[in-house]
Structure formats: structure tokens, C-alpha cells
Amino acid sequence: MNHSRRTTFLLLLALLIPFALRAQVTPDRLLHASDEPQNWLTYSGSYASQRYSLLKQIDISNVKNLELKWVFQAQSLQKFETTPLVVDGIMYITQSPNDVVAIDPKSGRVFWVYHYATSPAARPCCGIVNRGLAILGDTLFMATVDAHLVAIDAKDGHALWSVKVAEPTAGYAMTLAPLVVKDKVIVGVAGGEFGVRGFISAYEAGTGKQAWRFDTIPDPDQPGHDSWRGSDWEHGGGAVWMTGSYDPELNLTYWGTGNPGPDFNAAQRLGDNLYSDSVLALDPDTGKMKWYFQFSPHDPYDYDSVQVPVLANSNWNGSPRKLMLWGNRNGFFYVLDRGTGKFLAGQPFVKVNWASSLDANGRPIATPQPPGMPTYPGIQGGTNWYSPSYSPRTGLFYVSTWEDYGTIFTGVQAEYKEGTRFTGGANAAPIPGADNPGGIRQGPVNTYTEALGTGGVVALDPQSGQKKWKFAMHDVNTSGILTTATDLLFVGGREGYFQALDARTGALLWKENLGGDIIAGPISFQVDGKQYVTVTAGNSLFAFALRE
């Protein structure tokens, strides 16, 4: 290269680098997402999935001055479960069925909408929902309810490639936000109510070519298969419908798995039913499993363990340890060593009667209830898929709860027919004639929850397992949680209130009635020097910031 050409090249390089740095979400930026708290680069805010923001503009003293800045109304009446990404001043969300919308996060105005033509063959169990996106480079990734993975140009909203992950007519669906690790996009499949055989799979981000696949229900040649009898494993469930986490130092990605199939008739599938209701630690390069921990062996209660794995580094018995914190749908709060999967501690955080306690290895000591008597927690669990939060400042783990909520479970024989429901249940609320509170409230009148369950947020100390505080709600709580470096905790609820609490004490500091169920998690970001907090409620996304 001669001198003048070299000068030109360097000049061009100097011009391009700032753009490239701003525009491209590199794997390195994802690794250090916490270093750019103005953005929200992954579903859970960072690979550790703490939903903890380092932004400090909104604090305990001024949170009362939050005001609504804009509203985005989704063109859908389906449940609105999306967590936005915010990347260098642009917000990306999904709306049902599988649209991607690029939004100006200062005004709420829309740059573009990408519409994916969802196949009518899709049959997600519980609503045509989507929980969000992943990004790498200039490419967004969306998992669709008809079980495809689609790559979309983040600048102009055009599809770059689409691959079929699984067969929607067999009951496979995808509702989760993908997780990008290095150059791969990792997803899991829903379908646990249709007797699918679950899996987690990774795709090359540039091409969509499948890199690996891990079956959550082992076949006869795979370890763990002896936890099944006969051919039960073929429809064994173990769906994966929430986004995992990643520890770059250990090079392990963690994913929770769902119920075994059929959901409620455990007599039809003897054995522990691995790897249902478990957390799996996988090598993100190969998909090989390093360890697993099963929370609810041989589960007859639909206690999906798909909760987002929360990674925290903390002292344990006086020594630094890499922990995994898990408020499980089965009502127990677990602390695991995420390097080995070793069970460190666990105790109930809501009323539990399906097990008396956990043994030294974390295995539940089951106490099945007599026929006709309620089991606690009920079908929806002590919590469910709602993202919890961990604040390194307070050292507390925060989880949304369903309190004093039970179900009378009855298993009935289920016949497997591909693509039809395979649940094997005849379940009822403890009050005759009343419907148990479902996964989402159907309207603005709260008719049943007081006697059938209430809710709230609890702050748990991982060191002791004890509740530090509880913020009680009249209704069950379906909201995700955000904490901040100013000791604020943001949480919604199905009553439609969006609340800011003191993360140290649980004291209510601010609330706003948004008029619709809040079932996703709030996020925070900063644009042009202003910190925002956003959350979906009903069919809209609301953005708040401090009054000028």
C-alpha cells in the first residue's frame, strides 16, 4: 500500500470506526452490557439476567416526579409480553403475532414495522405471544409462534433469513426472546401441553445454519434416559419457553425446562422424567451438557422450571462463589453453585404443601395431598415466568409471587395425538364453582383472587433464604421486576398499577394506574441524558421519565 492510499485508508477507517462502534452490537458489547446502562441489549439486560440497571438519574428522592412521556399502542389485543431492546438510541419491540417494531425511545414514534406472516398452523398453548428479541451486529433475531427463527435487518426491518426450528402442526411453538452467545443464536421450543419432545438449539447468526441441538428429553442412547419407562419419553415435554443466561468465564449457558408430558397424569410416565423441570448448563459452542439440576422430579403439577436463571457472584460461607438464584414455580427458592450445579440451599417462599422440604441434595421430599384436597402452590405456581431481579447493592433477590394459591389436581389418562393437547388433567379451584385465577386476568373486575390467592413481591436474602420484606398485593402478581443502582424496584401487577418501591425496605414510593395487566418486566435506559423506565400494560407500552 503506497503512502497516499494508506492515508486515505486510515482516514476512511477513522471515519468508519465510530459508526461501526455505535452501530454494531459486537459479542464483546454483549459481554459487557452492564458497562453501557444507557442501552438494554438483551432480554434480561445482561448475560447475568439480574434486570439491574446502573442508571442513577431516577432515585428514591425524585421517583415521585416520574411522568408519562409517551405511549405505544400495539396493534393487537393479545397479551403484550415483550421486553424491549434499546440499542444506541433505538428501541426494538415485538407485538403479536410476530411483528418487530423500531421505535424512537424519546417520542414513541415508529421507524418501521416488520410483519412476519405467522402460519395458521401455529397452536401455542397460552396465547399468541412473543417476549422479545436478540441482537448481534445489525441483525435482530425473533423466534416465532410457528416455530421459526427469523433474522431481521435492524436498520430497515427487512428479513435476512428464516429457518424452521420445529414443526408447528406437532404443537411446537416459540414465544421466547432468543439469546445470542458469541456468533450463535440460541432458542428453545414451547409445546409442553402438546406432548412435544423439547430441545434447545443454536444457529449461526450470519446464515441461520443449525450449529447444535440439545434434546431436553434423552433418547435411549443418551444419559438420563433411564429416568423414563418404555416409550413415555417420546412425548415427554421438557419445553423451553424462556430465555437463558450465560457465564462467559465458565463458558456455560443456562436454560430452564418445562413440565413433563402429560402435565398432570404422572402415573402415565413413571420415573424422574429427566430433564423436565430442570436447569441445564450447556457449552454454548457445542451444546454439550456440563451439568443439570432437577427441581421437581416426576412432576404432576405443571411446575415448569423455565424461570430466567439469575447469576450472582457473592460470598457463600465466607468464600466468593458463583451462584445461581432461582425462585421456582414449585414454591421453593434455590441457591445453586453455577459452576457445578451443586445445591447449596433452598426453602419455600410461598405456601407449599406438595413437599415438606428439600433434602441435602435439593431433592424435594414429596407430600402428595389426598384426592380432592388442594395442593399449594396451584397450577400457576408460587411464581411463574415473570423475570425476577437481583440487586448487587442490596444483595437481595426479588420475585413476584402468588400467595396462598392452590389447585385440586386430578390426573386422568391422556391419549397422545400429534398436535392436540396432551395434559391429562382434571383440575379445579378449592372453591366450588370458582375459576382458579388463570395466567392472565380476563378483565378489569377482580372477582376471585382474594379467596383463591393473593400476590406480591418478596425480597429474599440468598444467604439465609429468609424474606427480608414483602410487598402485598390484593391480586396475584404476574409482573417482571427491575432494580436500579439507586435502590429502586419497579414492578407492575395484574391490577394495572406500575409501582416503584424502595428495594431495601419494600416501601411504596410511587405508583401509576396504567389500566391493564402488567405481565412483562420493566426496563430502564437513557437517551440524550434522560433516563426512562418503560413497561407494557394491557395492549400498550408506557414510557416514564422525570418531569422537566
Binding site: 397450577i379 373486575v445 382474594e450 391490577e495
Partner: protein
């Protein structure tokens, strides 16, 4: 996953089965026959269906019909569907000979007269608002639940309808029937039939009562009278 799985009801109740048997006799037998086996490939007594697995499948097939066949859509309410499904699931063991058929006209007379129901309940706006208007109760409550409410009202009362008592900071007492409640507020209709919304932080006392002013009719009405009253209540399907 996060929806409730439900293949079959945990229990089918005699009152619902009877109600379903009556509907079946008038609406379904022309095609399916009294034994439910007149359509090839379908035999209700034997539990044989073409495309139905769960109770919800049954409800959907009845409601939507089956395109391209003689199975037309039926606009049944929820309690009627519960009755029909309960009957279809129990057709092989149900003995219609012991069935006590209620008479809705006699039930209506009881409602206004000896039962004294009309002193608290309105029907489509005719009557007081102290207790819920029952004008569409036949679509809201199953036959079984209506029966239970009549014989044991306190145990069967749904949480939403419970009486509440509130005392404001300045000592004003408000009694009423709860319409809605959340963490911070409660909405009710008070004894003067006013809609009242209260903020809990403004109250000195707020109590949700587990009792009900409604008496049990277990010993007040005969079995036939109860059946008549239930038949009347089931016939109340709202203003069309």
C-alpha cells in the same frame, strides 16, 4: 406451561347432569337419538367421539358445529354447556327415572312469593339492588352451583359478592356489596344503592364479611320447590 390444562372436569354433578339431560332431550335427540348413538362413529354412552378429546373440545364442537356436516352451531350459554357436557360424560350411568324435573313457572312464583327472593334480588332491573340482579344468572351459574347456593349460601358465595364494611377516618360507616377490589381501592354498591369507590389508605377499618344475609333454603323449601326455583333461575338468560 402458563395456562391451566384441563381435559375433563374433576367431578360432574348430579344437578348439572339432570339439567344437561333435559337440554339433550329437546335439542340433540333428533339427530343423535335418545341413546346418543344414532350418528355413525359417535356413541355418547360409550364415550366414542370423532374429534373430541377434552371437555373444552366438546364445548367447542357444540358451539361451533362441524362444517360440512349436519352438526350445526348451537348458541348455548356456559351453564347449559356445562350441563350438556356433564350429561354426555355420564350418559352411561345416568338414570333419568329418578330425575326431579323443575317447573320454571312454579319457580317464578316461589321467587316472588314464599321464597322471598325478590325482597333482595332484582330480575332485569325489577326489584332492589341489595343483592346481585339475577336476570342472567342462568348463564353465569351452573345448575349445581345454583343448587349449592340455595342450600348453603355462605359457603357458596363467590368472593366478589361478599358484603363489606368500611369506616372512614372521620367515623362514617359504609356497608355494601363488593363489586371490585385491588391493592389500593375498593368499589362497592352501598345500602342506599349508590356506587362508591374508596381508597383504602383513607379508611380506619375495612372488613370483608364471610357471612351472607341470604338464608339457606335447605329446610325452607321442599325438594320439588327447590327444583322449581332452580328451573326458574336457569331460565334467566339476560335481556336479549
Amino acid at each position: 406451561m402458563h395456562a391451566q390444562g384441563q381435559d375433563r372436569a374433576p367431578e360432574y354433578f348430579q344437578t348439572d347432569i339432570q339439567y344437561g339431560a333435559q337440554i339433550f332431550a329437546t335439542q340433540c335427540t333428533a339427530c343423535h337419538g335418545t341413546s346418543g348413538d344414532q350418528i355413525p362413529g359417535v356413541n355418547f354412552r360409550a364415550g366414542q367421539f370423532k374429534r373430541v378429546v377434552s371437555d373444552n373440545d366438546l364445548r367447542a364442537t357444540i358451539t361451533n358445529g362441524v362444517p360440512g356436516t349436519a352438526m350445526q352451531p348451537f348458541a348455548f350459554g356456559a351453564s347449559e354447556l356445562t350441563g350438556i357436557v356433564s350429561y354426555l360424560r355420564n350418559m352411561n350411568s345416568f338414570d333419568a327415572r329418578g330425575m326431579m324435573l323443575g317447573n320454571a313457572a312454579r319457580g317464578q312464583a316461589l321467587f316472588a312469593g314464599a321464597g322471598n327472593c325478590a325482597s333482595c334480588h332484582a330480575v332485569n332491573g325489577k326489584g332492589p339492588r341489595v343483592a346481585p340482579d339475577l336476570g342472567d344468572i342462568g348463564t353465569l351459574r351452573t345448575a349445581e352451583l345454583l343448587h349449592r347456593t340455595l342450600v348453603d349460601p355462605a359457603a357458596s358465595m363467590l368472593p366478589a359478592n361478599r358484603p363489606v364494611r368500611a369506616v372512614t377516618r372521620d367515623g362514617k360507616v359504609i356497608n355494601g356489596r363488593r363489586l371490585n377490589e385491588d391493592t389500593y381501592t375498593v368499589q362497592l354498591i352501598d345500602e342506599q344503592e349508590r356506587l362508591v369507590s374508596l381508597t383504602k389508605a383513607d379508611l380506619r377499618e375495612f372488613t370483608v364479611l364471610k357471612t351472607t344475609p341470604m338464608p339457606s333454603y335447605k329446610d325452607k323449601l321442599s325438594a320439588q320447590e327447590l327444583a322449581d326455583l332452580e328451573a326458574y333461575l336457569l331460565s334467566l338468560k339476560g335481556v336479549k
